[in-house]
C-alpha cells in the first residue's frame, strides 16, 4: 500500500479502545504476546473452548428468557418452546418476586405478573414446572435478590417430584453485585448480599453439587454502558468476590469453582465479541489456577451463556433486529458458548410474542442444521487478526482488574457507586455519539426510514385478572398451610441470620412449609437491613 493511501485511510478503534489494522500478519500475533497462550480445545488455558469436541459432542443449549403472568401462563409458554425444540428454560420473574415482595404487597401494585412470572410460594414453582422433565430440560432461574428463596423452592419442587437433588442440574443467576450496577433488583446491603450468595454456593456444594448456584453476569454491566473488556473484567472481579467469600469459610476452591457459571452479552463488532470470549476463557482459567490454586480442570472452565443483547437492538425498523439476532447467534457459536439465547426483534416494544420467540429459536437452530457451526471447534482460531485481538483484549481485561484491585476492590467500588457512575457516563457518551452520527447505528442515525412507518408488532396483553388470581391463590395457600410450623421455620431463619450462620437450610425448611417469598425477605431484612442506593454522577 502506498504511503499516501495509508494516510487517507479511515482510522478504526473498536469499542474496547483497541486500534484495528487493515491487515494482520504473524508478526502482529508475536507482538501482542505470541501463540503461547492458546493451547488446544479442552486443555489449559481453554482459549479455544472448554471441551475437546465442543458442539460436535453436544451443540449449545438454546434457552430463551421467558415468563409472564402467573405460573400457569408461563408453564404453557415453556411447553410451546420445548415443543419447538428448545433445550433449556430461562425463567423470567415479575418485579415483585425479584425484589422479594409478595403479590399483595402495596409496593407490588401494578407490577404483578407484568414482566415475568409471579411467584409467592412453592406452590407457584410446582405449577410452573408441571409436566416438564427436569432431567432433560435444564432450568435457569433469573433471580438475584430473592435467589435464596427461589433456589430453595426449585430444589424443594424437584425433591417432591422424586428427583435426587444430588444429581439435579440447573442454574440460578444469583449475581447480586451486578444488580447494584445494572438491573437493580437488590434488597439487602452489599456485604449481606454477598454473604447470601456465599450461603447458596456453600449449601449447593454440599447438598446439590451439580447445581450451578451462580451465573456471574457481565451481560447487564454491558447493557448499562460498559465496553466489552470492562464487561468481562468487572464480571471476573465479581466472581472473585464470591469465591473469596466462600473460601474464607474454609470451602476448597475445587468444591465449587466448577459450578460457577457466567452470563455475557453479545452485540457489536463480530471479531471483538468473539475475541472477548476467547480472551476471557484464558484469563479466567489462569486466575482460578494461579490465584486460587484449583486442581480440577473443570474448576478452570469459563462455562457461559452468551446472549444476544437488547442493547444492540433498535426501536427503529425492528424487523432488522431479526438479522442482528442472527449475527449475535453466529458470534455465540463462533465463541464456543455453552448456551445461547437471543433478545427477540419485538423486545423494545413488548414481551416477545410466540411468533418472535420462535424466530429467535429457529435462528439458533439454523446455525446447527444448515450453516455448519456445530461441526468444527473454534473455527476462527489461528487467524492472525483474531489471535492478536484475543491477546490484546486479555491484556486490557487484566489492566482493568488490576485497577479495580488498586482502588480497593469491586465490593467497595460498587458500594460507593463508582462503577455505576463510570458505566453510566460511558452510556451517556455512547448515546451522544449515536445521536451525532459519530457511532453508526442503522435505522437510528443512518439508513433511516423515509417517513415514520407503522410498526407491525403484536403487543403482549397485560391481564389485571391474573394479578387478582395470583393474590387469591396466595391467600388460599396461606389459609391451607400449618401456620404454627411456618412461624417456627421463620423464627429459625431469623435466628440463623442473626447468628451469622448459613441461612439456606432454614430457607429450605421455610419454603417447604409454604412460607412466601415476602415473608422470608422480611425476616432477612430485619437482620441485614435494606440497601440504600448511592446516587452519584
Amino acid at each position: 500500500m502506498s504511503g499516501e493511501r495509508r494516510s487517507n485511510m479511515r482510522r478504526v478503534v473498536n469499542e474496547s479502545g483497541i486500534e484495528i489494522k487493515p491487515v494482520y500478519t504473524p508478526a502482529d500475533v508475536e507482538q501482542s504476546g505470541g501463540f503461547s497462550f492458546i493451547g488446544e480445545p479442552g486443555a489449559y488455558p481453554f482459549v479455544r473452548g472448554i471441551h475437546p469436541l465442543m458442539y460436535r459432542h453436544r451443540p449449545y443449549t438454546m434457552r430463551q428468557y421467558t415468563g409472564f403472568g402467573n405460573a400457569q401462563d408461563t408453564n404453557a409458554r415453556f411447553k410451546f418452546l420445548i415443543a419447538n425444540g428448545q433445550t433449556g428454560l430461562n425463567v423470567a420473574f415479575d418485579l415483585p418476586t425479584q425484589c422479594g415482595l409478595d403479590s399483595d404487597d402495596p409496593l407490588a401494585h401494578g407490577e404483578v405478573g407484568r414482566v415475568g412470572m409471579a411467584v409467592d410460594t412453592l406452590r407457584d414453582v410446582e405449577i410452573a414446572f408441571d409436566g416438564i422433565d427436569l432431567d432433560k430440560i435444564t432450568v435457569s432461574l433469573t433471580i438475584n435478590g430473592a435467589a435464596p428463596q427461589l433456589i430453595a423452592m426449585y430444589l424443594a419442587m424437584a425433591q417432591k417430584r422424586g428427583y435426587d437433588v444430588r444429581n439435579l442440574r440447573g442454574t440460578a443467576q444469583n449475581d447480586i453485585l451486578k444488580e447494584f450496577i445494572g438491573r437493580g433488583t437488590w434488597i439487602y446491603p452489599v456485604e449481606a448480599s454477598v454473604k447470601l450468595v456465599g450461603d447458596t454456593i456453600e449449601y449447593c456444594a454440599q447438598q446439590a453439587p451439580k447445581y450451578s448456584p451462580v451465573s456471574v453476569c457481565g451481560y447487564h454491566i454491558r447493557e448499562s454502558g460498559a465496553n466489552p473488556v470492562q464487561e468481562m473484567a468487572y464480571g471476573f472481579c465479581i466472581a472473585k468476590a464470591y469465591a473469596d467469600e466462600v473460601i474464607a469459610r474454609g470451602v476448597d476452591v475445587d468444591e465449587f469453582a466448577g459450578r460457577l457459571s457466567f452470563n455475557f452479552n453479545v452485540f457489536g463488532n463480530i471479531f471483538e465479541q468473539v475475541c472477548k470470549f476467547r480472551a476471557g476463557r484464558g484469563l479466567w482459567a489462569r486466575i482460578v489456577r494461579d490465584e486460587y490454586g484449583a486442581k480440577k480442570p473443570e474448576s478452570l472452565w469459563l462455562r457461559m451463556i452468551a446472549g444476544g443483547g437488547g442493547g444492540g437492538l433498535t426501536f427503529e425498523q425492528p424487523e432488522v433486529n431479526i438479522v442482528r439476532g442472527a449475527y449475535y447467534a453466529l458470534i455465540a457459536a463462533l465463541a464456543g458458548a455453552q448456551t445461547t439465547a437471543l433478545c427477540c426483534f419485538d423486545e423494545a416494544y413488548t414481551i416477545p410474542s410466540e411468533y418472535a420467540q420462535r424466530i429467535s429459536l429457529r435462528t439458533m437452530q439454523l446455525l446447527i442444521t444448515e450453516m455448519g457451526l456445530a461441526d468444527t471447534v473454534d473455527p476462527l482460531g489461528g487467524s492472525w487478526y483474531v489471535e492478536t485481538l484475543t491477546n490484546q483484549m486479555r491484556r486490557n481485561m487484566e489492566e482493568i482488574m488490576a485497577d479495580v484491585a488498586a482502588q480497593g476492590g469491586i465490593k467497595k467500588l460498587i458500594a460507593e457507586g463508582s462503577i455505576q457512575a463510570q458505566v453510566s457516563a460511558q452510556a451517556y457518551h455512547m448515546q451522544r455519539a449515536i445521536e451525532s452520527g459519530e457511532f453508526p447505528k442503522l435505522g437510528v442515525n443512518c439508513y433511516r426510514a423515509e417517513q415514520s412507518e407503522e410498526v407491525d408488532v403484536e403487543m403482549h396483553p397485560y391481564d389485571e385478572e391474573d394479578c387478582r388470581r395470583q393474590i387469591a391463590a396466595l391467600e388460599a395457600t396461606r389459609r391451607s398451610r400449618d401456620a404454627a410450623h411456618v412461624r417456627d421455620t421463620l423464627a429459625r431463619l431469623r435466628d440463623d441470620a442473626r447468628a451469622g450462620r448459613n441461612v439456606m437450610p432454614a430457607v429450605v425448611e421455610a419454603v417447604n412449609a409454604y412460607a412466601s417469598v415476602g415473608e422470608i425477605t422480611t425476616e432477612l431484612a430485619a437482620v441485614y437491613g435494606r440497601y440504600r442506593e448511592p446516587v452519584k454522577f
Partner: protein
C-alpha cells in the same frame, strides 16, 4: 426570558423497575443543559415522588419507566400532585411507553411523552420551551 434560578427537574424511577441506564443518561443531558437535576434513584412510590417534588419545589417532574407499570403509577401520582397543589408542574415521562397508552398518559397530565428512541436534545428543548 431570564429566570431567577436554573430549571429544576425531579427525575424519578417509578415502581420496582431497575433499568436506570436511560434515566441516568437523561440526567446527564439535563445537567449539561444547565438544569438542576435531582435524581431519586430506584423504587419510588407515587407518595415518595409527590413528596420529593414538594420538598424540592421542582419545576419539572420527569419519570423514566421501562417495565410497563407507568399507567397504574401515574394514576396514583396525578391526584397526589393535585392534592398537594403541584398540578402546575410540567410532567414528562420517558421509556418503554406503548403508543396505546399515550392518550391516557396525556389525560393524566403527562404532556411530554418520550418513548424509547427519543433524542436527548428533544427532551432538553421540550423542557426549555414548556417551563415558564
Amino acid at each position: 426570558m431570564t429566570r431567577a434560578r436554573p430549571i429544576r427537574v425531579l427525575l424519578a424511577k417509578p415502581g420496582l423497575d431497575g433499568h436506570d441506564q436511560g434515566a441516568k443518561v437523561v440526567a446527564r443531558a439535563l445537567m449539561e443543559a444547565g438544569f438542576e437535576v435531582i435524581y431519586t434513584g430506584l423504587r419510588q412510590t407515587p407518595e415518595a415522588v409527590a413528596r420529593a417534588v414538594k420538598e424540592s419545589n421542582a419545576d419539572v417532574i420527569a419519570l423514566s419507566s421501562m417495565a410497563g407499570s407507568h399507567v397504574p403509577f401515574c394514576e396514583k401520582l396525578t391526584p397526589l400532585l393535585e392534592n398537594a397543589g403541584l398540578a402546575d408542574r410540567l410532567c414528562i415521562i420517558g421509556g418503554n411507553l406503548p403508543k396505546r397508552d399515550h392518550a391516557h398518559l396525556r389525560q393524566l397530565g403527562f404532556r411530554g411523552i418520550f418513548p424509547s428512541s427519543s433524542r436527548l436534545d428533544d427532551i432538553v428543548n421540550y423542557i426549555r420551551d414548556n417551563v415558564s
